[in-house]
Every structure is written in structure tokens, then in C-alpha cells.
């Protein structure tokens, strides 16, 4: 099985989010980047499939060299080789075009990625990649089983679960519980250094969408603590302040 796993690098979930340049740019100073959690789900499932029935995993990232440590972490988790398209992604279409360009250079049975990145929450790339490559695209893939040259994929739908079957090749946007996140072991960390890691230039893509500005959500109000024996006061606050009664 030949699997392409597309990964994003996103701010650590404990990062303080701020914007600069008149709220037009994300303030990256002091931000620690991590492997996108949904992408880790996708990669972890790919590693499980490889462990079960063999194959090869290539990870693909569209981004700058500052993300190389995160890509090497993906190699440490179990990918066999990596490729980075050296560009600062502008929008989902730009990323999808780069992925499609790389994917066309090889025969992949499946192209897996997270259902969305947890920073900009676009959730569009898998659909666009499917369209650009003429492949079916499924999201969110919560379970993925392989039978011969097709996959059974479960999606969560309102009130239940939907099982789909799809022939290779396909694109899937993954999320838990498709596979539990993997953390690299020491042997993987050492092995990652000697795995093939290619850096390529991007293909030209014209920008379709521009970010105009960002704004932070309103500050949460402070938490009020009411002593356990002050029930009347609690009811008054719920009625008059919170207005939920």
C-alpha cells in the first residue's frame, strides 16, 4: 500500500493567540508549532495499516523550513520519507494545488490528511485535492478499514454512523477515533535523521482569496464563586445576572 499523508504545522494548543500589523497577521513570536492533531490521527492510521500489511508512507507538507522539526517528528512516528513544498501557504486552494502536483508524480492508493487544521479551521483541502485529481474524497473519516483494493470508511452522521466503501485511490480527511495519536519512540527519533527528506519549489498558483483582518473573541467574563449555603444568592445571580432562569 502506498500512502501519502499531508500534514500541517499548527500552534501548540497552549499558545497565546494574538495578531499584529493592524490585525492582519497572526503573531508567531514565541509560538511553538506542533503536528496538526487531526493529521497525527491520519498519520497514525497510515502507520497502523503499514504495520498490518506493509507498504510505504510519504509525508507531505507545504510550508517553510521552520517546520522541518515537525516533519522529522512525522518520520520518527513511522513515515518512510518526507517532502516539503517550500512555500508559505496562502489559502486552501494554494495548498491543494501543491498537494495535487506532488500526488500526480506517484501512484498512491490513498491520500490521507486531517479533517481540518486546528488553526484556520478551513477543512477544504481534502475536497479540493479530490477534485483536482479526479478522486473521491471523504470527510470526516473516523474509521478506515482496508479490504483488497478498497476501503470501508465510517463517518459520524446525525444520530448514528454511516459506512462507506470506496475503491483505491481516494482522498480522506481524518479525525479520531480513526487511530490513537502516536508518539515517536527513541529509536524512531534516531532513525528519522537518515530517512529521505526532499524539499521542492512550489508550482505557481494565483491567489483566490485574501485575508482582510482577524479579530479575537470577546473576553470571557470572570467566574463567580458562591458559597454552598448561599442558595438564594445563587438563584438571584442566575436570574438577574446570567438571565438563564
Amino acid at each position: 500500500m502506498n500512502i501519502l499523508v499531508c500534514i500541517t504545522c499548527v500552534p501548540d494548543t497552549t499558545s497565546k493567540i494574538a495578531f499584529v500589523d493592524n490585525n492582519t497577521k497572526f503573531d508567531q513570536s514565541g509560538v511553538q508549532y506542533i503536528l496538526g492533531p487531526y493529521d497525527n490521527n491520519a498519520l497514525s492510521r497510515a502507520v497502523e495499516l503499514k504495520e498490518a500489511s506493509g507498504g510505504k508512507i510519504k509525508v507531505l507538507h507545504v510550508g517553510g523550513p521552520e517546520n522541518d522539526p515537525v516533519i522529522r517528528k512525522a518520520l520518527a512516528i513511522g513515515a518512510d520519507e518526507a517532502i516539503r513544498v517550500n512555500a508559505q501557504p496562502k489559502d486552501a486552494y494554494f495548498v491543494a494545488k501543491q498537494i495535487a502536483h506532488i500526488a500526480q508524480q506517484d501512484q498512491y492508493d490513498m491520500i490521507l490528511m486531517g479533517r481540518e487544521s486546528i488553526d484556520y479551521n478551513g477543512g477544504q483541502v481534502h475536497g479540493m485535492v479530490g477534485e483536482l485529481l479526479g478522486m473521491p474524497s471523504i470527510s470526516p473519516a473516523m474509521l478506515l478499514e482496508v479490504e483488497g483494493n478498497q476501503a470501508k470508511i465510517a463517518r459520524e452522521i446525525e444520530g448514528g454512523k454511516e459506512w462507506l466503501s470506496v475503491e483505491f485511490p481516494f482522498v480522506a480527511g481524518c479525525q479520531e477515533p480513526i487511530a490513537e495519536w502516536r508518539t515517536p519512540n527513541m529509536r524512531g527519533i534516531m532513525a528519522a535523521k537518515s530517512k529521505p527528506f526532499q524539499v521542492v519549489d512550489p508550482v505557481d498558483v494565483s491567489e483566490k482569496i485574501n485575508s482582510v483582518s482577524f479579530e479575537l473573541p470577546a473576553q470571557k467574563a470572570g467566574c463567580k464563586l458562591v458559597d454552598a449555603d448561599q442558595v438564594d444568592e445563587l438563584v438571584r445571580l442566575l436570574k438577574e445576572d446570567a438571565k438563564v432562569l
Binding site: A76, N185, K193
Partner: protein, 379 residues
Amino acid sequence: MTDQVNENIQMITETIRDFGSKEIIPHYRTWDDTQEFPIQLFKKLGELGLMGVLVPQDYNGSGLGYLEYINIIEEIAKLDGSIGLSLAAHNSLCTNHILMFGNEYQKQKWLPSLATATKIGAWGLTEPNTGSDAGNMKTTAIKDGSNWILNGTKNFITHGSSGEIAVVIARSGEPGDSHGMTAFVLEKGMDGFRAGRKEDKLGMRASETTELIFEDCRVPDSNRLGEVGEGFIQALKILDGGRVSIAALSVGIAQGAFEAATKYAQERHQFNKPIATFQGVSFKLADMATKIEAARLLTLNAAELKMKGVKMTKESAMAKYYASEVAVEVANDAVQIHGGYGYTKDFPVEKYYRDAKLCTIGEGTSEIQKLVIAKSILN
């Protein structure tokens, strides 16, 4: 420190935090209460490659260096000092002794199972009546044909009961002769070799500490590490590295206590303000952070010298002495910042306080470290 080592450390830190949140944090309180040695946890640490950190990959180890090693010990100790202690004892004492002084046959025989935690390691130097004065040990090893016969008792041995491979130093020559002791590898199941009483300890309770008892225990000469009479000299070299381990362990405990205290000081309100805004508390936090930074740098310096293969007896003793005293001071301050809550088991700082104290005692007391430092300065 190179970018490569920094990147390794970053990745290892993430791995330990992920692993710890699932495998250590939910259980450490129970292990502490029941004084249970969680052997299954160590098997999982073995799968991660944390039980043979310094062992080359040819022997199924991780092949990492001392800088990564001290980071591993610090990160684990931040979560649970006793797991950090066991990890340090397994890696830097038993496993490292075989790695440094074993012949090729011995390394092939024992290192792969130690590095993967198929077997847990123990190391025996201390005896009931010879702690700091280890050179006067009473356990004897008498040559009998192609075997040695060991008699005596070692105590305060980490993994004395659960360990399946033990490196033991015994007297093969005259008392008081530093070249009169020899190191042997003992394996669980050998006739006349057994664990004795398990200690009921103040802290580090998940780390198993027992006696090792030898009663006419026959050990093949092929289990002897290095030359006859070199055991004590080997042990001193192992302790140079061991002190770096305990220094890193101390830094981890101090950092854990400091982070708990900082969090609490920002959450706890008195007089309508977080207590962190009071100078009495914030200055305490500043002192704690500064001491930890200094302890970490001393530890890093000793580890870097060790990596270079330079003699670092003085520097490792300084790191161990300073970092362990800092761990006790910082844990004490962390309890103080928590006030009454710090004295209860509802908050983690009382455990850091109990665990920290071991660091000023194990692998040479602070007083012995000062002797080592003074001797080094005056010579």
C-alpha cells in the same frame, strides 16, 4: 548544544509529556500511597527506548547522548520523582556499568534485555554498615575454581526484588584496599541470591528499594566485569555519571514543584488578588526559578564534560550537591506557597517535598559531595 540535540530534546520532551499524561499522571498518587513498583510502566518505558538511553543501537539501545539523557530524567522526574529515580538507577548504574566495563560477550548477553526492559537492572554497592565508607564493604567474593562464592548483604538497592540482572561489587581482596573489590553480574534465580526486606520510605515510594542477600552464591568467573580488584574503581567512575543523573532528577523535581507553585499562586486569591501579586510570594518564585536555572546549568555542564570524555568528578559532584539542595529548598517553598493546602495530599507539592529529600542522600550525601569537591580543589 547543537541544533540536532535541541531538536532531539524537543521531540523527546513531547513524547514524554504525551506518554506521562496517559501512563503516569493518572496513577502516580496510587503508586505513592501503596508503595507499588509499577513494573508494567517500565516495560512500556522500555518500548519507548527510555530504558537503554545511552546504549548503542547495536545492543537494542537508543544510542542517545548524555544531553538527551538528562532531559529524559528531568522530564520524567517532573511527573513523578520515583519513576525518574528508577529510570536513572536502571540506566546509569546497572546498564551503564555493563556498557562501560563489560566485554563484548557480556554486552551482547545482558544489554539488549536491559535496554528494552525485558529485564530490570539493579546495582549493589552500599551495605548496612558501609554507606559513604563503601571501600570497607563486608560482602566477600572468594575464588573457587572457575566460580566466585559471594556472601554478604547489600542494602538500599533500587529494584533489588524486581530486578533480574544485578551488578554487585564485592570484596575480593583486603579490607580498606581500594583495589580489593571486584564487580560481578548476578542473575535472578542463581542459588544463594535473593532479595531481602523492602524499605518503607518517606518518599520515592514507587521506586522499589530492598536488600540483596548472598548466601554461598556461586557466580561464574565469566560474570566478572573487568579485572579482579577493579570493582571499586569502576564503581567510582559509574558514580561520576550517576551524580549527573541525580542532579537531573533533582532539577526535574524542583521544576515540577515550581510549576505547581506558580500555577497555584496565580489561581489562589487572598485580599481580592492572586497571591502571586504579593511581593512575598513573587520574590519566592523568582528565587526558585533562579536556583533551578543555576542547577540546570551545572547539570548541563557536567553532562557536556561527560559527553566529551573529560574527567568530571568535581563538576558532577557540584551539580549533584547544588541541584539536590535546590530541589529540597524549592519543594519546601512550593509547600509554603500552597499554605495549608500544600500540607495535604490534594495537591502535588507535598510529594515533591518528600521525594526531593532523597536527592541529597542517594548516590552520595551532600556532605560526601563536598568532600569530593574539596579533595578535587585541594589536590
